[in-house]
Amino acid sequence: MGILEIKNVGKRFGGLQALGDVNLSVAENSCHAIIGPNGAGKSTLLNVLVGKLIPDTGSVMFDGKSVLGRKPYEICQMGISRVFQTPEIFGDLSVMENMLIPCFAKRDGSFTPNAFMDLLKDREIVERAESMLEDMNMIDKRHMHAASMSRGDKRRLEIGMCLSQEPRLLLLDEPTAGMARADTNNTIDLLKQIKEERDITIAIIEHDMHVVFSLAERITVLAQGTPLVEDTPDKIKGHPKVREAYLGETQDAA
């Protein structure tokens, strides 16, 4: 029984069957990658997991509780954090403020009308945010305007923000899309480090095979809305069905 259990999930957009009959189990504290060619339904599946879409059929259980019908913020409070394809951060705010927000969300819940408290006098939260910035090697950038950072730094900040919510499941949607090789390698190292140091389950959707094979312990190949095979990276590499559906076109994909 995995921490995330997806059973018979189907989703149709008009005439398009985006997800056919998806069954997937993600084991606790593992790193599970979902790969597949364009239009395979990876993003649809992710949007179902975070509450952005409600599937037509099936069930999604996280830690024994259904996530279906819950709002994104509720699912996040349950312990699922999402890293976006393009880094989603609070660009108008400082790096420190970006980090303070998830710390408040973790401690105080989805809404707290604390309008007369002084932000920086909350030592507990400030210290937690500072230590996370240190973990991310960004403490010297704390006063920077978040929007003015490089893409790699934004990604780092976003991952740090997700981690400070202490999620049990971290969802990554093509975390290295559009990144230079150096930034990609930095991100891989960061994710490896996170995997080693924390009790966290990582589910990753990725195009870049280099990233997938460096990180994943199990891989599910999705094609035309249904899982084709699920196995360890070594077996996936040589799998004839996968080669046929997918690998031929991805050697050069970034």
Partner: protein, 399 residues
Amino acid sequence: MFGLDKKHTNLLLLVLALVILAPFLLNPFPEGSGMAQFNAGYPDLMQRFVIFGIFAIGFNILFGLTGYLSFGHAAFLGVGSYAAMWMMKLLTMNIIPAIAVSVVVAGLFALLVGWISLRRSGIYFSILTLAFAQMSYALAYSVLTPITGGETGLQPKLQDPRILDGELAVGASPKANLFGLEMGASFEWSVGSWLFTFNVGYYVAAIAMLFAFYMAIRIFNSPFGMMLRAIKSNQQRLNYTGLNARPYTLAAFVVSGMYAGLAGGLMVAMDTQVGAERMFWTASGEVVLMTILGGAGTLIGPVLGAGMIKYMENIMSKINSTILHEWFAFLPDGLENFVVTLIYPFIGKGWNLTLGLIFMLVVIFLPGGLVEGGQRIAKLFKRKKPSSDTPDGKTTPAE
């Protein structure tokens, strides 16, 4: 001090000083001199500065922080005014219950409007608030005439019950007061050819504004204020950070509605009458202009914007062609007429044209409003002469 850091304490003290000294600062020209028409230190206008300052500070909490552009905030001002007026008719001419009730009623009305309007964001939110305000205006004018007085509006009448007040003396009219201290009462002090007016109503409104400003600073510096800025910056990330944006925006909406209600209540306290035109959409638009002109999202900006617009509305509009001819009398006749013809459309009734031009210039060249202008000037001075500390005698008549 007051739970604020040094920078914000200084800002609050600066505003305190400006507000206390306003009767001097706004009356820099001697009576009877040619420039006396630029004096703004008379009670009616000073009251308007601070009351619209409160209105704009509150509006800025919603618009400046969350980015939700309400186009119907005058409705809360109007509702607050009507509520205050009814307190004066039913209970007492003392302004305390009137103002308290105006804040509460406007807050409740904002809760209803916000609860419905905040289901949408962006332009749809703006249109919903505009629709609510225009409905309120239309209702106040027609169906709700028994409550609002329709076209004639409401004033305190001699035969009103006023159960807490004693019988009025024969021939006396009901006057707004604070435990007997009449709002209209003024103390005039003449120094040489200068005349300074200290008005009770102005100082009452000024205390309310200082309180409103202090609360705004607290909100800006709180985690709650940071969440509101986060909503403006990236609502998607906020949702995926486990925070529910709706109660935050609704709280900001209600708070800014209460500020509008306070402004409405004070308006009635200063000038005991209210009409539906106070809720008309141009009044909602005006507070948007004030906030953007001064600098949305800044603390002092909305107050500056409100001051500037009210100053222009009351002072620029008084300049007429006779005054212009006096000014340019030194020019040869033909040229004088030409210059006057050229300037005439921008003054008097044309003051809106000037305001529009200034607004356009600010939005294009100073997107951060007058505050950004001030910051740029300050930066320029710092860069030019880093050591010197004499501001070369340039005193700005700050409002």
